[in-house]
């Protein structure tokens, strides 16, 4: 792994069925995610995907590119920038920005983000792990 390395992206459509399954798994049954009628009358004008669901796509990218080091020492700091309407597609990006070696091993820093089909940034932040 070297600085500026780009991670392989994760791309997917987040369907209504996935959001309902995620609501059941996570216990987050906020109607803004699952109730069309309720969500129509909010600022979002429709149901939006859970923020933690979007974070899972960043984790998926790190699982696929980094593997178990991500599980053993992962740190993730994410800010939510824009909502994603249910039924739309996402794409993740990751780029290694810093590598620091010391007596305890190597600490990797990676800038991460997830955007929608129009390029709007949904979430962005930083991931760290040790190797």
């Amino acid at each position: 792994m070297i600085e500026e390395t780009k991670l392989k992206s994760v791309e997917k459509v987040i369907t209504k069925e996935m959001v309902i399954n995620y609501a059941n798994t996570s216990g987050d049954q906020n109607p803004i995610h699952i109730d069309e009628e309720y969500a129509k009358n909010t600022d979002f004008k429709g149901t939006i995907v859970h923020g933690m669901f979007l974070i899972s796509s960043i984790s998926e990218m790190l699982i696929k590119n980094i593997g178990l080091n991500w599980a053993k020492s992962g740190k993730l700091k994410i800010k939510f920038k824009n909502p994603l309407r249910v039924g739309e597609s996402i794409s993740t990006k990751g780029k290694i920005s810093k590598i620091v070696k010391d007596n305890n091993g190597t600490l990797i820093t990676c800038e991460v983000m997830c955007s929608d089909n129009d390029g709007n940034v949904l979430i962005s932040g930083t991931a760290h792990w040790s190797e």
């Binding site: 798994t25 109607p31 899972s56 984790s59 599980a71 020492s73 992962g74 740190k75 993730l76």
Partner: protein, 126 residues
Amino acid sequence: MYLDKFKIKDQLCEFDIELNEEYIFDYYNSCGINFHDYQYVFPTELATLSLKYFLEKFPIPNGSIHTSQEIEITTPIKIGSKLTCRAFLDSIKEIRGRGIVIVNIKYTKSKKILGHANATLLVPLS
């Protein structure tokens, strides 16, 4: 306002979670993640399960927005582990007619801290 009965640094609750294969399978499945190497728990699976238990005790009012999330695993956590979670009120402020609340969760096993998470929420004032 959400959690305004508590003071900063108060412990909000304590609960146990089990990160078993069934939960991990459901999590991957619901997120559309095609990965089936059940050795260690990844940070987002940990935060999601603990938030589930936390939200059962302290449901977030409608109209709340999750604005940021931090998760860190400091010691590897094996699938099947049972952890104790302690949730604390890290910060509570009122800014421009909205509340900003930060909840910190510490993950421990046999009193050793294995990781932590911070969730920042924008909540209605009433």
